[in-house]
């Protein structure tokens, strides 16, 4: 069942298109991440869904009903803010109960619902504290409990982990996913952090300059990027983008870039003479950064990265010359002008 449908959604600020013709569907129970760099329009998109901003045109449909003209207090959308937005003058208990009080949920239900939400998030022992006396992680849990307490149709998260310390972020990420698996509440999760998006979400929508570039599972985004933007954005480090000719760009993941292959590799599409710039040791792997000696047609230097397993010491040093190759089967091809992905068969051998 589809819980949320966005249809040709647009939001303009003057001549700037913050959200540009977005079509998107969320199925019931799905965890979808909206991933994009800062200023890509992902936050605006989320505010449109929550009802905090009116769209310029297009439609937002929740459970089969258009909610474009419904004010936020009558949409059953719960949001967790980046700053958590806990009410400073209320105790944790009053913060969590606030949505029930203002939605006039019968009083006798309050205690049971409070119990359920707080035990799920492990904040039962904080109920009488003020938000200012909580750590960042505790504030986040209270914000989640407040969002959860009223059984929302749709959860909207605005970078809820970015205000947390790096140490507890990965723990919080895991808890967030466990919480979702328990509740199965349809979730829209906005982030600029691809580790969060890829690690948490069932599907990821990549957005840039207001336009959706690709919607798919993390595996699809990684293995089959739909265009040059996604190819250059997903993955850390992202795909090597190597111009083949006037019309084609080849994309090759750093782990598929072979350095100085000993035996003959069949069906090569990429074969570069590279000068190593530096070697990076990351514990589980090596990254070899290099500069291709061939320059691109517009005269720019071509920077390439190869990822090597930690087990094999690459035996490379800065300034060393080497050969980096990529097989046809590992390469994604993109049209240079439109940035769109090309099907392999169209490529001249």
């Amino acid at each position: 069942m589809t819980v949320l449908t966005l249809r040709a959604l647009e939001k303009h600020y003057g001549s700037i298109k913050a959200v540009d013709h977005v079509d998107l569907q969320l199925e019931s129970g799905e965890f979808m991440a909206i991933l994009g760099p800062s200023g890509s329009g992902k936050s605006t998109l989320m505010r449109l869904v929550a009802g905090l901003e009116p769209p310029t045109s297009g439609d937002i449909i929740v459970d089969g009903q258009s909610v474009v003209n419904v004010p936020p207090q009558h949409r059953n959308v719960a949001m967790v803010f980046q700053s958590f937005a806990l009410y400073p003058h209320m105790t944790v208990r009053d913060n969590i109960l606030f949505p029930l009080v203002s939605r006039k949920v019968p009083k006798q239900e309050h205690e049971a619902r409070l119990q359920k939400a707080t035990s799920m998030l492990g904040v039962e022992n904080l109920l009488d504290r003020r938000p200012s006396r909580l750590s960042g992680g505790q504030q986040q849990r209270v914000a989640l409990a407040r969002a959860l307490v009223r059984d929302p149709e749709l959860f909207v998260f605005d970078e809820p982990l970015s205000a947390l310390d790096a140490q507890i972020r990965s723990r919080a990420r895991a808890e967030l996913r466990e919480l979702h698996d328990q509740t199965r509440i349809t979730t829209l999760y906005v982030t600029h952090d691809q580790v969060e998006a890829m690690g948490l979400a069932d599907r990821v929508a990549v957005i840039n300059e207001g336009r959706l570039h690709q919607v798919g599972t993390p595996q699809e985004l990684y293995n089959d990027p739909a265009d040059l933007f996604v190819a250059g954005f997903i993955g850390n480090p992202p795909m090597n983008l190597i111009p083949l000719d006037e019309t084609m760009v080849a994309g090759l993941r750093p782990e598929h870039m072979l350095v100085d292959p000993e035996e003959d590799v069949p069906d090569l599409l990429i074969d570069l003479a590279v000068t190593i710039e530096h070697i990076e040791y990351l514990g589980s792997e090596w990254l070899a950064h290099g500069q291709a000696r061939a320059v691109t047609s517009n005269g720019q230097q071509l920077h390439v990265i190869a990822r090597l397993p930690a087990s094999a010491h690459p035996g490379l040093v800065s300034g060393q010359e080497c050969r980096m190759v990529g097989q046809r089967k590992d390469v994604c091809l993109f049209d240079r002008a439109s940035g769109k992905r090309q099907v392999q068969a169209e490529v001249p051998a």
């Binding site: 929550a50 009802g51 905090l52 004010p71 936020p72 207090q73 949409r75 959308v77 719960a78 949001m79 803010f81 980046q82 700053s83 937005a85 009410y87 400073p88 003058h89 606030f98 949505p99 203002s102 939605r103 407040r146 009223r150």
Partner: protein
């Protein structure tokens, strides 16, 4: 070490500098007339035993009690009117009007800077026209023209310092515009409201020009105009009574200002 000594010497000097007039006033209140006017004695000591006669005179044989009462009534009404008008005005300008609302804060503040010594003539016309000249209600109506712009400007800063995500969270939690304002925003700005109340009250207390020109009947006068006219008769200054009248008002006000000082300063910082 030397710096520390210098620092505390400076502090001590400034404290003494500001407290000596108050102390002198306090000493004068309980002085006998003969002690006060005797030439050649140090004015800071009692050369004759202190007396309460001036305080008794102030409360029994002048209209001072009435002045106090009038000032209190005027002050309370001015504060109420100011709050009722400036809290919603500041909220609306901070949240409901887009960007020009916030910027209009300075324009509002400029209104406050028009001197009452220019305004009292047209204001008097209005007061006469309303039929409230010579009553304390003239002040209740006119003084908010000074306090409302100032307090709106001050509160605008307080509202502006509340993160918008709080309003948005409240709306998503099921609040309409009014409940968002009342249940979530207003509690964040209570310190500002308190600071404004103190300010409006002390301003209504201290205003002289309106108080002196709108009201000529002694029994209807407030402290600011009543005390100097009642206790300076011709060229006779009732010094101990004047000092007592001043201190009765100044000391409680100073204490309240002290309590709200941080909020006031914080408010000025937010507003600019």
């Amino acid at each position: 070490m030397l710096r520390k000594i210098g620092f505390y010497c400076g502090i001590g000097f400034l404290t003494l500098f500001s407290i000596v007039p108050l102390l002198w006033a306090l000493i004068t209140v309980f002085k006998r007339n003969s002690d006060m006017y005797s030439v050649g004695t140090v004015p800071f000591f009692y050369n004759e035993p202190p007396t309460l006669e001036h305080v008794v005179f102030l409360f029994t044989e002048s209209n001072f009690g009435l002045f106090l009462q009038n000032s209190a009534i005027v002050g309370i009404f001015v504060v109420l009117i100011t709050m009722v008008l400036s809290i919603p005005a500041a909220f609306s300008l901070a949240r409901l009007t887009g960007s020009w609302g916030e910027r209009s804060g300075m324009a509002i503040f400029l209104v406050y800077l028009i001197p009452p010594s220019l305004l009292f003539i047209p204001m008097y016309q209005i007061v006469v026209w309303l039929g409230i000249a010579n009553t304390i209600w003239s002040l209740v109506i006119v003084l908010p023209t000074i306090t409302v712009p100032f307090c709106t400007w001050l509160l605008l800063g307080f509202f502006r310092s509340v993160p918008r995500s709080l309003d948005e969270a409240a709306m998503l939690d099921g609040c309409g515009q009014f409940t968002t304002f009342y249940r979530v925003l207003l509690p964040q700005v209570w310190p500002g409201v308190g600071a404004c109340a103190v300010f409006a009250f002390s301003l209504s207390l201290g205003n002289y020009i309106y108080a002196a020109t709108f009201i000529t009947r002694s029994a209807a006068r407030t402290l600011s105009a009543g005390v100097p006219t009642e206790l300076i008769r011709g060229d006779v200054f009732f010094w101990p009574e004047l000092m007592a009248a001043t201190l009765v008002v100044a000391i409680p006000l100073a204490i309240v200002y002290g309590l709200f000082f941080n909020y006031l300063v914080g408010g000025f910082k937010n507003a600019t």
